[in-house]
Symmetry: C2
Subunit: 442 residues, 2 copies
Amino acid sequence: MHRIVVVGGGFAGVRTVRRLAEVPGTEITLVDRTNHFLFQPMLYQVATGVLSGGQISPALRSIFRRQRNVRVLLSEVDGFDLERRVVKAFGEHEYELPYDTLVVAAGATHSYFGRDDWAVLAPGMKTVDDAHRLRSMILGAFELAEAAETEAERQAWMTFAIVGAGPTGVELAGQVAELGQRILASEYRSVDTSQARIVLLDSNARVLKTFPERLSARAKADLEFLGIDVRLGVRAVGIDPEGLDVKIAGEPARITAKTVIWAAGVKASPLGAALGVEVDGAGRVVVEPDLTVPGHPEVFALGDMAAVPGVPGVAQGAIQGGEHVARVIAARLTGAPWPGPFRYKDKGSMATIGRRRAVVDMGRRQLTGGAAYFAWGVIHLAYLTRWEDRIEAVWRWAFTGIGGSRRERMISIVSLVPETTARSVILELRRRRAERLDQARP
Amino acid sequence: MHRIVVVGGGFAGVRTVRRLAEVPGTEITLVDRTNHFLFQPMLYQVATGVLSGGQISPALRSIFRRQRNVRVLLSEVDGFDLERRVVKAFGEHEYELPYDTLVVAAGATHSYFGRDDWAVLAPGMKTVDDAHRLRSMILGAFELAEAAETEAERQAWMTFAIVGAGPTGVELAGQVAELGQRILASEYRSVDTSQARIVLLDSNARVLKTFPERLSARAKADLEFLGIDVRLGVRAVGIDPEGLDVKIAGEPARITAKTVIWAAGVKASPLGAALGVEVDGAGRVVVEPDLTVPGHPEVFALGDMAAVPGVPGVAQGAIQGGEHVARVIAARLTGAPWPGPFRYKDKGSMATIGRRRAVVDMGRRQLTGGAAYFAWGVIHLAYLTRWEDRIEAVWRWAFTGIGGSRRERMISIVSLVPETTARSVILELRRRRAERLDQARP
C-alpha cells in the first residue's frame, strides 16, 4: 500500500483526495485541525447572518464516507521530518504519521504585517469561528448603539471600519450596509441603523486591485451608491478600541469606529516554513513547476501556501492544484507518463456588492450589476459540495433578498473569545483537569 | 405612559410582551442578556447536529419589530431596587431602568447541587452556546476515539454518560445513540461508532419521573431497545475527566466515560433572590396566586423562576403565566375587574426517544411509539415562532430521518470554552483594552 498523507481539508486537499479515489493501492490519511471542509467564498454570508456555519462546512468524514481508501483525522500538525518521512501531529496525544507521499495544503491565515497585537482589536475572517465572531461583533455593535448614553458613543458604535478592499472587504462592507439599511432598520427605537457608517479603506489606489480597472471603478461606484465611505490610498498605522489611526498621503488622520474588521493581508500557514524549504515573503513555499517541493519529489505543496507564478490565492488555484497533484501521484503509481507542469486555467474572479450587484471578470467577458450578481449566484451554487446546500442557500437568499430578514442572528458571548485565547484556555483547563486527576490518585 | 420593564426574553417574557401589544398607554422595555428568544424544547437537536442555532433562536428585535410600544435592550440585569422602582442593568455601562410595573421572568440555570466545580467537567444544556459546546464535545469524542492509541482509551471516548433521565437527558441519550448507530456508522475507519456506549443514569427509580408510571416504563424499554444503558437509583458522587464515581444503593461504583453531560438539576435564576423576597429551596420566588411578589403588587415573577403550586417548570407554565400577567396588567390599566388568580391548564408533556419513538402524556390520553413521535413533531412545529422555522425543521428532520445525515456538524474549539471562562476572558480583554487606551492618552 502506498501511504499518502494530505495535510489540510480545504479546496486543495479535498480535491486531491477526491481525485485519488480511483487509484488502486493507495491508503490516504487526510489530517485537518477542524472536522469540516469550508466553502470560504460564502463565509461572509455566515458573518452577516444569512447562512448558518453548517450550511457551508460539511464534515470531511461525511464527504469521504464512501471513499474507503481514505481515513480522516482531526489533529493539529506540528511539523514534518522529511528525512524520516513522517508528519508530526497532535490529537489527544503527540503521534507520527509515516508517509510515502506527502501533500501539504494548509492554506493561509491573516497577516497583520507584524502587528499581531491588532488581531484582538480587528479580527479577520478565515474560519467558521471567525465568522461567528464577526457576526457577534457586528450585531453586538448595533445593540450597544441602541443602549448608548451619548450621541458620540452611539456614532462610534454605528461606525464600522473595514481594512482591506479585496473581495472579502468589499463583500463584508456591502452586507453590513444591507444589514443597517434594510434588515435591521425597523427594529431599533433609539438609533436609525440606516445611518450606520461603513468605512472601507485600502492602501491601494483602487478597490479589488486584482480585477481590471474598469471593474474596480464600477465596484467603487456601487459601494458608494450603497452609502459606503470608500477611502483609498489610506494606510492603517494604529488600531485601538476606539478606532484607527491612518495615514493619507503621509498625513496622519483618525477614524473613530468601535468595530474594526481586518480584511487586508494574508500569509501562508506556518506549516510552509515548517517544511524547512525556501519560502517567499508571505511564507509560501517556492515549489517546482509540478508543485513538488525542491529536493523532495515525494512532497507536494499547493493552494494558498504555495508560491506559483501566475496562480492567485483563490479557490480555483487550490482546486486545480489539487487536480494536478492527484494526476502526478496517479501517474507515478500507475506508471503513466509525467503529466507535465501545473498549468493554471484562469476561470475568472468575482465579488458581490450588497444584495443586487457584483462584478465578474472572466477575461474577455466582464459583467457588472444584476447580471453579475446572478452569475455569482449560479456559479457559487454549482461549486457547493452537496445539493442540499444549494437548496438551503437559495431558500435563505430568498429570505434576505425578498423577505428582508436574516435567519442566523445569534450573538454569542463565547464566540467573542479570540481563538488564541480559547486555545490557551483549553490547554489550561486540560492542565487543571490533569492535575485534579493526579491529586485523585492515591 | 405606563412604563413596564420585562426582564427575560424566554417563553414567559415574550408571551407577556406580545399580549400587551393592544394595551394603550404602555411603554415596554424587554431586557435580556442574549439577543434572541430560544425555543428550548428543540435545543437537543442543535446539540446533536440536526438544526442550527439560528433556526430555533429568532432575534427578539425581529419578533417585536412591528410592536411599536416595545423597546428591546441587550443587557445583563444585576439587581433591583423595589423601593425606588428601578432595575439595575449593565450593557456597555451600568444604568438604571425606572418602571411602574416590573415583570421578572429570568428562567432557570443548571444546579450541580453545590458541586459547581462539576460544571466544567459535565456541562449542561440551557443556552445555544451550551448546545454548541455539547455538539463539539460529542462529535469531538468520536474523533478522539478514532485517533486513540489504546483500546481502553478508545472505549473511554466511545462512552457517553448522561446524568439525569428527565426529558432533556432522555432526548440527548436517544440522539447520541442515533448518531453512533446510523449517522456516523459508515464514516470512521478505526472505530465502530455503532458500538458507542450511552449510560443514562438517574437517582430516581424511573426515567421521566414526572410522567405516569406506564410511560416511564415504556420510555425505559424504548431507550434500552436503542441499546442505551439505563441505570436507575444511581447517584453521582464524583466527576473527573475520566468518568464518574457513583453510588448504587449506597455501594460505590465507577463509570468510565470521557464525556459526561449534566441533565440532572435546575435552579432558578439568581435574580429571584435578588428581588429580596422569599425564595424556595430551588431559588424560586414564592409568589401570590396572581403571580405578584408579596408586598409588591406592581412586581410579577413567573416562569421557571417562580414557585406556583401545581405549575411545572415547562414551556406551558411560562407561556400561560405570561398570558395571565398580561391580563392582570391590562385589567389594571383599563380599569377592568381583576382577572383572578393564575390557573394553570395542564396541556400534557412529552419527550422523544431517538428518531421514531416518543411518549406523550395528555392526562386522559397517552401516546407511545411512532404515534407519539408524530404528535411531538406536529405540536412542536405549531409552537415554533415563525413559519419559515417550521419549513426548515421539517426539511432537516427529513434529512436526519430518511437521509441519515445531519447538516450542522461543526466542531468549534471556541465553543468548548466554558461560558464563565469566556465571560472572564472578555472582562479581562476589556480591562486590557481600557488600559491600553489610558496609556495612549497624553
